[in-house]
């Protein structure tokens, strides 16, 4: 069983489109995250949710809107996609609110904006 699963794995879309990435974790964790990995492999946190409540929003453009319908799901919706949004997006989860235990990562969604 996959602990943190994201869909889709690959996403190719045109500039200006709106797209969503879904994430689900079956670990019973309280906190979920979205990270962005650029072409140089640098990983940067975007958002974190604890029990459906937004905890961290790291100066991400308003075009990015996370939504957590329940604590096992955290989706990422992106409006008006730009070329610079091309990256690999990782969902992750951890137990507790304060990041005192390791985060488990999904396999990533490679987004390519053309």
């Amino acid at each position: 069983d996959t602990a943190v699963s994201q869909t889709p794995k690959y996403l190719v879309t045109q500039m200006g489109n709106d797209k969503s990435i879904k994430c689900e974790q079956n670990l019973g964790h309280d906190t979920m995250y979205w990270y962005k990995q650029d072409s140089k492999k640098f990983l940067k946190i975007m958002f974190s949710y604890n029990n459906k409540e937004l905890i961290i929003n790291e100066t991400v453009p308003n075009r990015f809107s996370p939504k957590s319908p329940d604590k096992a799901h955290l989706n990422l919706h992106i409006n008006s996609l730009e070329l610079g949004d091309s990256a690999v997006y990782f969902c992750a989860s951890s137990q507790g609110q304060f990041m005192n235990t390791e985060a488990f990562f999904g396999q990533g969604t490679r987004l390519t904006v053309v």
Binding site: F42, L43, I45, I56, F90, M99, A103, F104, F105, G108
Partner: protein, 110 residues
């Protein structure tokens, strides 16, 4: 093989040798540190962690050393195997979030 300095993007090591990957972290308030391994096309995988009240922790074939005085973290891999080829990241926890350093690509030579 050993990566030195603040950051070395790549490390090439002979199979069977020990590897040392170094990492300088930025926040003196960080109290929890994790090493992750990322293989091509996959998400980061947990290797080992250490809290700020410790200076050394050992796992299976891996050891993490923490020097808070100079804000330095290292990962030692014993008897490096081909399956250890990957990008390795150190991560520090501060302000309730995990921040990642730039990764080090480890290539194991047969």
């Amino acid at each position: 093989g050993e990566s030195v300095g603040l950051h070395l993007p790549t490390l090439s090591v002979q199979e069977g040798d020990n590897s040392i990957i170094n990492c300088a972290y930025s926040n003196s308030a960080s109290d929890y540190f994790i090493w992750y391994k990322q293989e091509s096309g996959k998400g980061p995988q947990f290797i080992i962690d250490i809290r700020s009240n410790m200076d050394k922790r050992q796992g299976q074939r891996v050891t993490v050393l923490l020097n808070k005085t100079v804000k330095h973290l290292s990962l030692q891999i014993a008897a490096t195997q081909p399956g250890d080829s990957a990008v390795y990241f150190c991560a520090e926890k501060a302000d309730y979030k995990l921040s990642f350093g730039a990764g080090t690509t480890v290539t194991v030579r047969a």
